[in-house]
């Protein structure tokens, strides 16, 4: 798969085009950055095998790191800077990260699957170590000393024991290029890995990694000096707005262009079912989109009633399934003294990004430039090429930070819309979705049902666990926009994506002797450009599956008469998993006893405490949540959440704490509020009133984050792991408080009140 802009697009040519404006924008006041002047000065082509593709050193010694993912505000770019600075032994303040520009960075997969530090960091560590090796080798020649006699401090190579004999990186290469090759595993995207003869530092020698320098994007955001993608303005651009059908799946029959004739400069932009409006002024484009009269085809009931959703999922045909089995399940259940069974349900959820999608596209005969907020700009460039019918070599995607993205939100779709509009009108076009599109037309997190069954012996030992998930695919719409058929515009223009059926199994280290873990995927209710198409949303399927599985484990513990923490520890043998659970219990001051033992009643308020645990790609998270439930109203308060978090090597503890905290609050939101409302015709969650999220009055007053550092281990990612067990921890706490199990998310006051009887 060639997922990168080929080297035929020289950096110089890109920077001479419309891209230069914004590249300069993002690099303002960074005199140590070289990227913007590269190209005709001898920089090698942008290939993964060129060391110069990964970092460069400016005449003043400033280091530029070229990051082929993007950071959406969690500090991943800072982690890259720290990793490279550590290997090079340069001050962190001298390092600048260039990210998300397809002409300046190699495709490392974009922001994806919490792999920033895990994969991209691993590759950049190798690049940093190799650069250091080469620089030290050059220094050895200049200084007349063996490389192993040299040491590096703050970018200056000197002879050990004779510090007067020294030469700086800037003197060695500043402004020039390595012109050397680095090993590459021939894969683009997340799996991209590098190799070199250089040996990265031992964690024992780390000076910078493990400390907490501040992020570099915060000031620009706080003072309003850093542009978001919404702030990109290109000379002569028009403002575009899309028109969506009132009933999902309807086609355009006719358009009454006279309905917007009175709006200055407003025009209909249409190609088949792709329809929008443009106008020179944004407010006019908005008015035109509201005023335009479109006749749509008749469509009957694209969706079932929401009240039937879970029944529909249970009865729907299975497109694909998978399972892992261990032991003889039937035999175990046949000899069970007690069988526990429960069904769990999770709704569709929306990314509902803070600002609806926005992009600017400038489609010209000689090339295409898009300014995009998508997490995966390299893949989006491919999607743009597919939508426009131009070679991908002609597309330059420039990522500019957008409203928080937690997976495949609407930022890629709007990029395609802007590109198609620009192509049709022959001018640059900025498209910004309206709020109803941000909620109503983004790819959704899948709805699902989960069935748990456990066999216990007469002593409460688990003989077998059987857990089956069934739901919509996490890849009905792919997690990248590389295929035009995975974008709204592409689908409206007739492209069809792969619509891959994909679900997941629970991720944990439980040692149940006999078990079956299985999943089944069902088809979309409405294939194609549907407002309920499903894709990746922060920790794809993690909250769904873990809500069910860890709530169910709690039910089994209760049936066994066991303490929920003790019960889990009994079936965990991996030391790090046990340590995380124990750390959370210790920090929380967990008092042992079966569910209910920690319950306190004060008037209408009852309290409870719940635990949940899971892994995510080897990152281990254990959470203990406290709740207060008003038994009369069902109102829920979460006064404290304790998170024990083990993601292996920690790069920046302060940034990691923020990431975990934000996961807790967003996870709380998804646990107690979020449910996409729809009817037979379409999605009815179209704003913050119809799709409530967590409010500051509900934010937990205390979030205790216990970081378990394992510098000897690989960094395994932190962007999403905490999201995974949170809903179950809260649900288990509610059970302790009320004594009745809720098996459907979100955990609303209505459901809590019903459980409090």
């Amino acid at each position: 798969m060639n997922a990168n802009i080929p080297s035929s697009v020289s950096r110089r040519s890109v920077l001479q085009g419309t891209g230069a404006l914004v590249v300069a924008f993002s690099m303002a006041d960074t005199g140590n950055v070289m990227a913007a002047t590269a190209g005709a000065d001898g920089r090698p082509p942008l290939l993964p095998t060129e060391l110069d593709s990964w970092l460069s050193i400016a005449p003043n010694g400033g280091v530029t790191v070229y990051f082929g993912k993007i950071d959406g505000g969690q500090g991943t770019d800072l982690a890259m800077a720290m990793i490279v600075a550590e290997e090079l032994d340069v001050p962190i303040k001298n390092v600048t990260v260039v990210q998300g520009d397809t002409a300046l960075t190699v495709n490392q997969g974009g922001a994806s699957g919490s792999t920033g530090v895990r994969f991209a960091g691993a590759a950049l560590r190798i690049a940093g170590a190799e650069a250091r090796r080469q620089l030290v080798t050059r220094a050895a020649e200049k200084l007349g000393a063996a490389p192993d006699q040299l040491t590096v401090t703050d970018g200056v190579v000197s002879v050990m024991g004779n510090p007067a004999k020294k030469i700086s990186y800037a003197e060695l290469i500043g402004g020039g290029y390595f012109h050397s090759q680095i090993g590459w595993n021939n894969q683009y995207g997340n799996p991209l890995a590098l190799t070199s003869p250089a040996k990265p530092k031992s964690y024992k020698d780390y000076k910078l990694v493990g400390t907490s320098p501040p992020r570099t994007d915060v000031e620009g955001k706080v003072f309003g000096t850093k542009p978001w993608v919404q702030d990109i303005r290109v000379e002569g651009m028009l403002h575009g707005r899309m028109i969506r059908p009132p009933i999902a799946g309807a086609s355009v029959v006719s358009v009454d262009e006279s309905s917007i004739a009175s709006i200055p400069g407003a025009k209909v932009v249409r190609k088949g079912d792709f329809i929008g409006v443009v106008a020179p002024r944004e407010w006019d484009a908005i008015k035109a989109a509201q005023a335009l009269h479109v006749t749509w085809s008749q469509v009957s009931d694209p969706f079932v009633d929401q009240a039937q959703l879970y029944d529909y999922i249970r009865k729907a045909p299975v497109t694909k399934g998978d399972k892992q089995e261990k032991g003889d399940l039937d035999a175990a259940f046949a000899k069970a003294a007690k069988i526990v069974e429960a069904d769990y349900e999770w709704p569709f959820q929306s990314h509902a990004s803070m600002g609806p999608g926005c992009a600017v596209a400038d489609v010209r005969p000689d090339g295409v430039t898009v300014w995009t907020g998508t997490q995966k700009p390299h893949f989006a460039a491919q999607g743009v090429a597919g939508c426009l019918g131009v070679p991908v070599e002609k597309v330059h995607a420039i990522w500019v930070t957008g409203p928080g993205s937690y997976g495949r939100n609407d930022a890629g779709d709007v990029t395609m819309d802007a590109a198609v509009m620009s192509q049709l009108v022959g001018k640059p076009v900025r498209v910004q979705y309206m709020r109803y599109e941000g909620h109503g037309w983004d790819p959704k997190a899948p709805a699902s049902v989960h069935k748990g069954r456990a066999a216990l012996d007469d002593k409460g030992n688990v003989l077998a666990i059987d857990f089956v998930s069934k739901g919509f695919s996490r890849l009905e719409t792919n997690s990248t926009e590389a295929d035009a058929g995975d974008t709204l515009a592409g689908m409206l223009l007739g492209h069809k994506g792969a619509r891959t059926p994909a679900f997941n199994l629970p991720d944990n280290a439980y040692t149940f002797e006999t078990k079956r873990m299985a999943w089944e995927c069902i088809p979309a209710m409405l294939p194609g450009p549907s407002p309920l198409r499903t894709s990746h949303m922060r920790d794809p399927l993690g909250p769904q599956i873990t809500f069910a599985h860890e709530s169910f484990i709690d039910e089994v513990a209760f049936a066994a008469g066991a303490d929920p923490v003790e019960f889990r520890l009994k079936y965990l043998s991996e030391p790090r998993d046990r340590a995380a659970l124990q750390a959370a219990a210790d920090k929380a001051g967990w008092k042992p006893g079966k569910a209910g033992a920690r319950r306190v009643k004060r008037g209408d308020i009852v309290t409870g405490r719940g635990v949940a645990y899971s892994q995510r790609t080897n990152t281990i998270v254990a959470i203990i949540a406290d709740v207060e439930v008003n038994t009369k109203t069902g109102a829920l308060r979460v006064p404290r959440v304790v998170v024990a978090h083990d993601c292996g090597l920690i790069i920046n503890p302060a940034a990691l704490r923020r990431v975990v905290e934000c996961n807790v609050v967003q996870g709380l939101s998804r646990s107690i509020h979020e449910e996409v409302k729809f009817d037979r015709n379409g999605v009815r969650s179209v704003d913050w009133l119809t799709y409530p999220i967590v409010d500051i009055t509900e934010a937990p007053p205390v979030i205790d984050v216990v970081l378990l550092n394992h510098p000897e281990a690989m960094a395994t990612g932190a962007g999403e792991a905490t999201m995974r067990p949170l809903a179950a921890a809260i649900n288990n706490a509610i059970f302790e408080a009320t004594g009745t199990r809720i098996r459907r998310a979100p955990l609303t006051p209505e459901r809590i009140r019903a459980s409090s009887v």
Binding site: V218, E282, I286, A352, P356, Q432, R435, A654, E661
Partner: protein, 155 residues
Amino acid sequence: MAEKFSLRVNGVDHTVEADPDMPLLYALRDDLGLNNPHFGCGLSQCGACTVHVDGVATRSCVTAISRAAGHEITTLQGLGTPEKPHPLQTAYVEEQVVQCGYCLNGWVMTAAAFLNKNKKPTDDQIRQALTGLKCRCGTHTAILRAVKSAAAKMA
């Protein structure tokens, strides 16, 4: 029909020709080229477009330009600069509050107006003052720390 309106923004006078019903947000962003505030919902539900109008935190996405004309308008950039930061901005940087940061105008401009009138607010008063504002990334606990820190400095 478009009319001319005088807008005083961050201490500078401008004239904007626009429909009287056009929200102030579009005048600030499109006519004056200011990157703050942001469009979040256009429905006064989230706060991303918040500015001060005569010192009062106001949602510019639902405030017609005709209503804003002649009043003193302040945006995030008018609140403080890296050289002369508002205490809230200092606290936001110190606490590293933002994730994506797109919502920030709402929280900072609303909190700034609140702290001007409430010198020693309790945790609960701060929460009540900020209720309704949206942050999708979940930075709420960091926001609370920053507002408390700024309140202590402003008291």
